[in-house]
Each structure stands twice: as C-alpha cells, then as structure tokens.
C-alpha cells in the first residue's frame, strides 16, 4: 500500500516579468510516496530546484497546490510554513551552508536549537548523529577543517537530527568525487530511508542512479517521463 507523502497538482512557477519572463516550472503534477527514494533528474535549468523548493515549502508557486499528507502547504502563513519545515522536512543544500564559525556539532544541533530545545541536550544529540555519519571525532572542529564529503555528511546529520519524515537534497553529490558521492547516497538509502520516510533527491549525477526507487525526468520545466528506478521501493 503506497502512502502519499507529498502531492503536487498543476504547479507553475515563473520568474521575471514581460519579455524577461522565464517559465521555470509548467503544469507539474506529482505524487511522492513514503518509503521511496525519488530522483528528479534533467539538464541544468530544467526546473528541478524550483520544483523541489515548491514541494518543500520554500518557494511559493504562481499556480497549483502542494499537499503534505493532505495538508495544503501554500495556504499556510509564513510562520506556519517555517514550523512545518522545521518539524517535518530535512534539507541538504548543494553548498552545504554550514556555519564556519560554529563547531561541527553546533552546526548539526541547529534544528533542535531552533525548536528551543536546551543547548546542552541539543549538542549531545548532535554527537549521536555525528556518530551515525561516522564523524564523531570531528565534533569540535569547524566545518572548514573537514573535506567536502565530510561536510556533506555533517549537512546530512543536520538534516536528520530533527527526525523529519521528508528529506530533500539538492545535488548532494555535485561537489563530491564519485566514490564519496556513492557512499553518501548509499548511506542515505540504507540507514535513513524507512517506510515512514521519503527522500527526494535532485541530481544529474548518473553515478548514483542505481539507488533510485523512481526517477522523474524534467525538461524545460515539464515532467517528460517518470520511470521505475533500479532500486524499486
């Protein structure tokens, strides 16, 4: 039985006005199920990031709707959206966006701190999550002392610490070498993906296609095909 995590209907997004107007996403409808690892692939500029942002409550669409477990995202207030993102969605950005002046552990603890959990307890929990990604020995270092792959794992630990049921990653392997990228996605697949959770990955890295449950193909802002992945849910 498939349980729908995210349901997108008729999504549209354009940028700019008049002559300069670009249609980034046109009439996209899509279901994302719990327990699957959904890939959004396509050439650069095809609207992948725009789509991912709209279904994760970061970018307001010009038309269409997004529901997370039946709850209409874009009718919520900004604060309501922020709360939903904080409690239910884990983000991994392409450029990590770790704070250079905080320690690795402090970086990981941020979502808990934003939830007003006590500082010390948040740091202790961060150590647990750093251990999960194999970086407990790096806890007190600033992120810049870490390699790219390690920083990406820190970002993943940060995304996971609040135990979100939706994990979205934008080009998580783009700045990593092949093996590192594969290891990270394999870790996500084996350790983080559960029947109660869904993972959406935007990528055009063919080296990690083998882990996909389903693959959404985009071109020019449209979905041009959805195929079963090599690793079906």
């Amino acid at each position: 039985m498939k349980r729908i995590a995210i349901q997108a209907l008729g999504l549209q997004k354009w940028f700019g006005d008049g002559e300069a107007r670009t249609l980034a996403v046109q009439d996209v409808s899509l279901d994302v199920n719990f327990g699957e690892m959904l890939y959004i692939v396509g050439p650069s500029g095809s609207g992948k990031t725009t789509l991912l942002s709209m279904i994760s409550g970061i970018l307001r669409p010009n038309a269409g709707s997004v529901a997370i477990e039946g709850c209409d995202l874009w009718s919520m207030s900004n604060d309501g959206l922020a709360e939903l993102r904080l409690n239910r969605i884990g983000f991994v950005f392409q450029d990590f966006h770790l704070f250079p002046r905080l320690t690795t552990a402090e970086n990981v603890a941020i979502p808990l701190i934003l939830r007003h959990e006590p500082w010390q307890a948040s740091i202790e929990k961060a150590l647990v999550y750093l251990k999960k990604v194999g970086l407990e020995s790096r806890a007190d270092l600033p992120p810049v002392k870490l390699s790219g792959g390690e920083q990406q794992r820190v970002a993943i630990a940060r995304a996971m610490i609040g135990t979100p049921d939706i994990l979205v990653l934008d080009e998580p392997t783009a700045s990593l070498d092949g093996d590192t990228g594969r290891n990270i996605v394999s870790f996500i697949k084996n350790e983080l993906l559960t029947p109660q959770r869904t993972v959406v990955i935007v990528t055009h890295d063919a080296r990690i296609y083998e882990f996909a449950s389903r693959v959404v193909n985009m071109e020019d802002g449209r979905i041009v095909g959805i195929s079963e992945g090599a690793s079906r849910a």
Binding site: L52, R85, I89, H97, P111, W119
Partner: protein
C-alpha cells in the same frame, strides 16, 4: 544559567563573537564613541559644576541678585534697600547679605596670589562651610579667616591653623580649614570671613552686597517671594535655578557648550558609521547562513530577535568598555592634575546609553531589513 538561556541567543552570541575581527571592530567603534561622548560631557559637567561651586557650597534656598548676573563671580552689587525690602516680604523667615569679591594675598616668598573672599553675614554666618579643622565661631576673633582645602589650597602654601598672611596689606589669621563640595572654576583659592571684615579688607564699590540669601518660611512661599523681588526689578531664584542659570550661560553664551555638542555629534556619527557599517558587513557575510536558517525553519520574528540581541550585546559591551576607559582616564588625569575638572554624571551616562542604543537600533534595523528580504530559495539554488 545555560539551560535558562534560550538556545537561539547562545547561537546568536557564538555567531557574533566567534567572528573575532568583526566583533572587535564593532565593539571598538562603540567604545570609541562612548569614550568620546562621556569624556566630553563629563569634562563639561565638571566645568559647569565648578562654575556654580559657590552656589553649591553656600546652599541657600533662595538667592536674590541683579537680573544681569551670569556667573557667580561676576556679581553686581545690590543697594541696601533691597535687603530691607526682602526682609519685609511676607514668607521670608530671614534674609542675609553675602559678600563675594577678589583680593590679593602676599605669600611668604613675596609673590602675590589672587583669592576669592566670601563674606558671611556677621549675625548668622549663613552659608558657612563645613570645617575640617578649627571652629567657625573663631571667625569673630581678630582678623579671622577660614581657608578652603580644595585643589587650590596649595597655592597659598597649604596654610595650617594659626598661620598668618597678608590680605590686601591687612593681617589675616587662619582660624579654620574648610572642606567644600565643589571647587571653583577660577583656579584661585577661596577664603571665608565675616561680611563686615570682608568689606573692610577689600576696597569696594558703593554697593557691597553681592547676593541676598533668603530662608523662606515654607517652600510654598518661594513663588510669592520671587514675584515680589521681581516687582522691584531684581531676580530671586532657587539654588537649583541659579545652578542651571550659570550652566546655561556657559552652555549657550560662551561657545563652550556649542563646541561640546558639536564634538558629541561628531563622535556619535563616527561611532554610528563604524559600527553600523561593520554590522552591515557582518550581516552581508552571513547572509547565506541566515538564509539557511530561514530555510531550515527559523521564523522571521526569531531572526529579528537574534539580530537585535547581537546588536544590543555589542552596544552594551562597547558602552561598558567606553565608560570604563573614560573613568580610568579621568582617574589617571587626576593623579597628575588634581585640578582636572571632569565629572561623570548620571546624565552623561544616560546620554551615552541613549547614543549606543540609537547606534544599535539603526544597525539592527538595517540588518533586519536585509535579513528579512533573504529568499531561502536563493540559498537553495546555490
């Protein structure tokens, strides 16, 4: 303590303070302008309080004077009938004359030292100073004078009890050493004696009474006394009003106040631009990080609180350092120049506090506007 404190404030604190260089520049800018403001206003406050020293030291409830008087030492003699008139006013408990004038003391080494002579009413000695040594009644003894032990005392060779000196070629004997609240601005020593002796020692113009000191029956009588004195063409003011009259004259008529305010405004602008700009750079450099916080789920209002906290924390740190530095400087200056007229008043601290509050407010307003405009999507897109 830790657990009591909101984690987002610890986060804000670390983001701010861990950026050593920028934090130092921020605090430095605010310290600098606090220092300048407090230094300037306290120097001015010191000068003002010295300018009013006689008023403060004598401490009469009501002073009657010629309306043209600007400073205490530039008194204008009052005709005798004014004293009689004041004494006749309903509501006046008693009224006594005060003499204030200058004389020359011949020192043992043959040089002359100008002094201020204050002559107290012979019957009451109203306005008498507190004595460290000697007894005030000894003023009635022959040639008796009380010398004030202030910063100028040593200019007379710090004369002890029973020391003798010549004032305008008359013999004078020190019968007391007084301690006063405030030393004068003129940089000359002060001697107290009786009114009658003062006018016999100091060559005088026709009118010898500088001020009439009035003790009203009740505080509520003061308004009527003022009105009556005014009807005669003279001026009656309370002690506080006299102090502010003198202060206002220095502030607005001498250029000193204008200059001070100008300097204060300049240091405010300097502080504001250093701190405002550094804070803005701090925000800009962390823009993507603030955006990431927003994407993760930080509410706009919390971001605002975080930035306000950072701005206020920086401002108060700078304020504390600036005030501390200034106090230290005044302390050191006093060690070398006992005469150094600077006084950190609560008003000065309030001015400095308001100034850094404005700096913090403006800086965080600019920062907040910037941060609220960040689109998390732009962070996501990289």
């Amino acid at each position: 303590m830790r657990s009591l404190m909101n984690g987002t404030f610890i986060l804000a604190f670390k983001l701010l303070v861990n950026d050593r260089a920028k934090f130092q520049a921020l605090v430095g800018g605010i310290t600098f302008s606090t220092f300048l403001i407090v230094q300037m206003t306290s120097l001015f406050a010191g000068i003002l309080s010295r300018a009013s020293s006689t008023v403060l030291n004598v401490g009469a409830k009501v002073w009657v004077m010629d309306p043209a008087v600007n400073t205490v030492s530039s008194s204008i003699g009052l005709p005798d009938y004014v004293l009689d008139f004041v004494r006749s006013i309903e509501g006046v408990s008693y009224a006594v004359p005060l003499y204030s004038g200058g004389a020359l003391v011949k020192l043992n080494n043959g040089t002359y030292q100008p002094v201020t002579i204050i002559g107290l009413d012979d019957d009451t000695l109203y306005g008498r100073p507190a004595l460290e040594q000697g007894s005030i009644e000894d003023l009635y003894a022959d040639d008796g004078f009380v010398v004030v032990n202030d910063a100028e005392y040593s200019k007379l060779g710090s004369p002890p009890l029973k020391a003798q000196m010549q004032i305008n070629d008359h013999r004078a004997v020190i019968v007391g050493v007084a301690r006063v609240a405030s030393s004068g601005l003129n940089g000359v020593p002060t001697l107290y004696t009786t009114y009658k002796r003062a006018i016999s020692y100091v060559p005088s113009t026709r009118f010898t009474t500088a001020y009439i000191l009035v003790e009203p029956k009740q505080a509520s009588d003061i308004a009527a006394i003022k009105a009556q004195v005014a009807s005669l063409g003279y001026l009656a003011v309370t002690n506080d009003e006299f102090v502010s009259k003198v202060s206002n004259w220095f502030m607005y008529q001498t250029g000193a106040g204008t200059n001070m305010m100008l300097m204060a405004v300049i240091s405010f602008i300097v502080g504001l631009s250093i701190s405002g700009q550094t804070f803005y750079t701090f925000i800009l450099e962390n823009e993507s990080k603030f955006g990431a916080l927003k994407a993760i789920g930080m509410k706009g209002s919390e971001l605002v609180k975080m930035i306000l906290f950072q701005a206020i924390f920086t401002a108060l740190t700078g304020l504390g350092l600036g005030v501390g530095l200034c106090t230290l400087m005044i302390f050191i200056a006093r060690l070398r120049l006992p005469d150094y007229a600077a006084k950190v008043t609560y008003e000065n601290l309030l001015i400095a506090f308001l100034m850094v509050l404005i700096i913090a407010g403006v800086s965080s307003y600019i920062g907040v506007r910037r941060v609220l405009r960040i689109e998390p999507f732009d962070i996501f897109r990289g």
